[in-house]
Symmetry: none
DNA sequence: GGTGCCGACTTGTCATTACAGGCCTGTAGT
DNA sequence: ACTACAGGCCTGTAATGACAAGTCGGCACC
């Protein structure tokens, strides 16, 4: 038994593959198909929706990229089990709360908070035109008095008007984003590398310039794919380790 | 003036789009095309290499996904002004498959493979008594010939009898665990820090002892919470970055 | 009862064709 | 000098057809 699908809109407002992708995604996320259950074959989907296999494959490709399904040659396409998802504990979002819970004293000091124009890197990460207004935050987070994390954040000013004047001292940025601007982070990409700090960053973190640190670059977005935050952070990992849980 | 390209191999050993992708990537990474310089148009590439536009688009799609190029509708495809990055997907499965998928040549060399007694650290991570038999693997993974990852794995011998005699050369460890022992990873904890390598490890990874590396410690377990694997790994992140997707 | 092989079904790869729609430039008209 | 627009680029979308290659069940054979 399969569902009846609403017909796809052929007015060209949106590509057929995108509409099909959304229809399949809705079905998967609603839980109607359990993990590792097969999707209809490409030929079947092609018939069901009245589109070519090209469109079906384009839609499935997108779902594979989003890790909602996986494909096995010769067998079919299957719903990806949610357990392969990954959660970052110990990121800027929520890390303060986690640490506080474990009885540590977390303080966050705002070093700089300005309005400016997006440079090339920021524009690319946030997917906005170079020169568009962004709010920049430079903050130092301490755990039990020890410098732990130095983070520079850029947010499109359009999404967070007036943020450059909000007093964040010891407040969670994500709390502010949520309460003041209704921003709900949906997902993020992060890149991690081991780096040496600049002289200035080393001083703030109270380490020497030859101490290896974790450098983290990140871009986060909303449900509708709008990029709302780009940051790069330096992490002292000599006393506190960076934890990743995979479930 | 364009280069002359070696003809693509049509023996079906490798898909045409992958060969083309590699050829273009080599050109980009060698720096012959500067950032934001255009690639030949799809039609031109199609002629140059004697393949259909389908193949060209497949190759370009992969390069876009690897963030080596970006495309602008109506204009063309351009070299992305970024450093190369390797995708590490934070799933319980190994990274080798993901890398292979993106057309990198992944080779894994087993340096040591022995049966021994669990030391204190291993016993704690695996939750077994100290002194219980464990199989230890020390492996060096290369990506496109470059040393990339040095990993030391310990598994309780009870769960993987005879593993110390299985030839793993270029085989995925997780594949072997699955097929030979029916081991299905359910979840894992990982800790990441920035560290310097020992003299021996530095030599294997072909870096100096003052190169900061990513150190990763991990323990993985089955659905029933049995710990089956503990490892610690050293990652070169100077040329390639460590990627984590959060969904 | 086991084994091997065939055929049906699946996804992967590739070619070809067509048109829509964005980008840019040259040119004709003002 | 300026504008409007046509036409030639480009990528995006879509249909269709073909074959390769992996999976799996069933059937015939031993």
């Amino acid at each position: 038994m399969t569902l009846t699908y609403p017909p796809l809109d052929r007015d060209g407002a949106e590509p057929l593959w995108m509409q099909l992708m959304r229809a399949l995604r809705a079905e998967i996320e609603s839980g109607e198909r359990g993990p590792d259950r097969p999707l209809p074959s490409e030929a079947e989907l092609s018939d069901l929706f009245g589109v070519s296999r090209t469109v079906v494959r384009e839609a499935l490709r997108e779902l594979v990229q989003q890790r909602l399904i996986y494909k096995v040659k010769g067998k079919g396409a299957f719903v990806a089990p949610r357990k392969t998802e990954l959660r970052f504990v110990g990121s800027t979002s929520g890390s303060a709360d986690d640490l506080r819970e474990s009885g540590r004293r977390v303080t966050t000091q705002t070093i700089r908070q300005t309005l400016g124009e997006a440079d090339e890197r920021e524009a690319a990460l946030l997917r906005i035109p170079q020169g568009e207004q962004v709010v920049r935050l430079r903050r130092l987070r301490r755990v039990d008095g020890q410098p732990w994390l130095l983070v520079e954040t850029a947010l499109p000013a359009r999404l967070v008007p007036g943020l450059e004047r909000v007093v964040l001292e010891n407040q969670s940025l994500y709390d502010t984003l949520r309460r003041r601007y209704g921003i709900e982070p949906a997902a993020a990409d992060r890149w991690i590398e081991a780096v040496f700090p600049s002289r200035e960053d080393a001083a703030l973190l109270e380490v020497s310039t030859s101490t290896p640190l974790l450098g983290i670059e990140s871009v986060a977005w909303l449900e509708d794919n709008t990029r709302f935050e780009a940051y790069h952070a330096l992490h002292r990992s000599d006393q506190t380790r960076f934890y990743v849980g995979i479930r």
